[in-house]
């Protein structure tokens, strides 16, 4: 099994006045192909920072981050934009669908940003919506969808660019336990069907049973990997 994500000795330092705060302190993590990793830790432990660095949203202060063999630390801001658009998928804590776009259009946002072939993207969006059980909701605005449906649209959006790695930020925090369980099972099923790797940032222990591996993080230090 090859590694999709390799983070080696990564530090992220924030300067606040005269003091330095290490959000990540010599963190190392590997995520294998087709592997689902649950990143667990208390608030402020650095899990979101780690996830952001893995997804090219933040640049580390030091260390090496490779995704699919590409060293992100050498990328410019523009190249990181392209990387996020083409190589990774994100599912945000508050879903963050574009409120004035329909479910299908929210999936097509990725293709729109990349200027790709619209017809191919539309076919893929419809296919994903069908797989996620949202075929009949394609033309609905987010405000017309339930919380679970919105979460599924967000998952579909994350899968539009056929990423090698999907990053989930607290995907069940806004859902009740039953719906959270359904969504987590859906995440596992979709990732495994596609052979896509995933990091699920959570402090919900119920999610960890669906992960292949659980990684704990505390005070910016990855405790087991």
């Amino acid at each position: 099994m090859s590694d999709v994500l390799v983070m080696t000795d990564v530090r992220k330092i924030y300067e606040t006045g005269d003091t330095e705060v290490a959000a990540l302190d010599h963190a190392s993590l590997t995520v294998g192909d087709d592997e689902i990793v649950a990143l667990v830790g208390p608030s402020g432990s650095g899990k979101t920072t780690l996830c952001s660095i893995a997804g090219g949203l933040l640049s580390p202060t030091s260390g090496v981050v490779t995704v699919g063999g590409h060293d992100l630390t050498t990328y410019s801001a523009r190249e990181l934009s392209d990387f996020r658009r083409d190589q990774v998928g994100f599912v945000f804590q508050s879903v963050n669908l574009v409120p004035f776009l329909t479910a299908r259009e929210n999936l097509l946002v990725i293709a729109e940003l990349g200027g790709g072939d619209t017809s191919t993207a539309t076919t893929r969006a419809d296919q994903l919506l069908d797989e996620l059980g949202l075929a009949d909701r394609a033309k609905n605005l987010p405000s017309q969808l339930s919380g679970g449906q919105r979460q599924r649209v967000a998952i579909g959006r994350a899968l539009m660019n056929e990423p090698s790695l999907v990053l989930f930020d607290e995907p069940t925090s806004a859902l009740d336990s039953k719906l959270g369980d359904q969504v987590t099972r859906l995440i596992r099923s979709e990732m495994k069907q596609r052979g896509t790797s995933a990091i699920i940032v959570t402090h919900d222990d119920r999610i960890t049973q669906y992960a292949d591996r659980v990684v704990h993080i505390s005070d910016g230090v990855v405790l087991d990997h």
Binding site: T48, D82, F83, R84
Partner: protein, 369 residues
């Protein structure tokens, strides 16, 4: 870009306020421009209508007909200047006129021109006692064949036709031959009577470059003349200069207000969209693409506002009775007003660029630099 356009389509009410204010500003720009053009045209139509390439005034006249005198000797020098093909007297006097069926105190201010080279739309100098009249006199009830009484001596002038766009100093004009003009001035304004062969100015046609010919004429007369093109006469008019400066200033301030309105509106909108832009950046949108969307929205809003403003400005032109307000809305004025608003839209949006650039994609996931 498509996302920005869909937002406009799906959430039109969000942009209604900006469109309403931009419409008012656009209408104000066109109204001010129309008034400026109307004033300028109404004041100088008789000059710009000249078919002559040049108008020769005496040097110390400030290019004003009433203060200018060209004597026969100077006229001969002008006529003999290289490149000059024709010359003709051009005189004007202001008089009160009584139209048929009007009361004894119901006077209309008119400018009586005596001419030899016909301006555009005006026929050859008519017979004694006859004149062409500007169409604004027809708007006041005059008809072809009417006899207008001009001046304190009620000199008779018969209208033989109407000509468009020949007003002068915002008053209707009458176009008579030089002899008729002289006899009416002699009867009503003896102090302004010209000597034999003397004219206020000369209309001159030339071959080749008019400006070069103007220099040759002034050189040939030993600097006793000031020769200008009709456009130069308008530009040299102090009244026109004051109008342009005043209205130009007001128009400039209106454009500045439009810039501020657009800047504030899109600054607020961008602040509202910080979360959305963070998500889009996290998904791979570049700042340039997001800013292009902002500019596209501003341009479309401005175009919609401009269309409504143009309709309002045109409706105003139709609604205004002729001759009441000097208002003239030209295609050039509409295009320049819309262009100014579009420029204001781009400049106004530029104030949001920094905010868009500073939005951190990491904010979408909760982390931030």
């Amino acid at each position: 870009m498509k996302i920005a356009l869909l937002e406009l389509r799906r959430q039109p009410r969000r942009f209604g306020g900006a469109v309403a204010i931009l419409t008012l500003l656009g209408a104000l720009l066109m109204l001010l421009g129309g008034l400026l053009d109307g004033l300028t045209e109404g004041g100088t139509n008789a000059i710009t209508a000249q078919r002559a390439d040049l108008i020769v005034y005496s040097a110390n006249s400030g290019a004003k007909f009433a203060q200018s005198r060209i004597d026969p000797a100077t006229a001969a020098v002008v006529a003999g200047t290289d490149g000059v093909t024709d010359t003709g007297a051009l005189n004007v006097v202001q008089l009160g006129a009584r139209l048929p069926d009007s009361g004894p105190r119901d006077l209309v201010g008119v400018r009586l021109f005596g001419y030899e080279i016909p301006p555009a739309g005006v026929g050859a100098p008519p017979a004694a006692g006859e004149a062409y009249a500007d169409v604004t006199l027809r708007d006041r009830g005059a008809q072809v064949g009417d006899v207008v009484l001009v001046g304190s001596q009620k000199s008779k002038v018969k209208i033989i036709g109407f000509v468009p766009d020949t007003t002068y100093v915002l008053e209707p004009t009458l176009w008579a031959n030089v002899e008729t003009w002289s006899s009416i001035v002699g009867a009503n304004r003896p102090s302004e009577q010209l000597g034999v062969g003397v004219s206020q100015s000369l209309a001159v046609t030339v071959t080749g470059d008019p400006l070069a010919a103007a220099s040759r004429i002034d050189a040939a007369t030993g600097g006793t003349t000031t020769t200008l093109t009709p456009a130069g006469v308008v530009e040299a008019d102090k009244g026109v200069q004051s109008q342009n400066a005043t209205f130009g200033g007001i128009i400039g301030i209106t454009v500045l207000i439009a810039i501020v309105v657009i800047a504030l509106f899109f600054a607020l909108l961008t602040a509202e969209r910080t979360g959305l832009y963070g998500v889009l950046k996290a998904l791979g949108a570049r700042s340039g693409a997001l800013f292009a969307g902002v500019v596209a929205q501003a341009m479309i809003l401005t175009l919609i506002a401009s269309l409504i403003a143009t309709a309002l400005a045109l409706a105003l032109e139709v609604a205004l009775p002729p001759g009441v307000v000097p208002y003239s809305l030209s295609a050039t004025r509409v295009i320049s007003s819309v262009g100014s608003l579009l420029l204001a839209a781009v400049v106004g949006c530029a104030f949001s660029l920094r905010r868009v650039l500073r939005i951190d994609p990491a904010s979408a996931i909760g982390g931030s630099t």
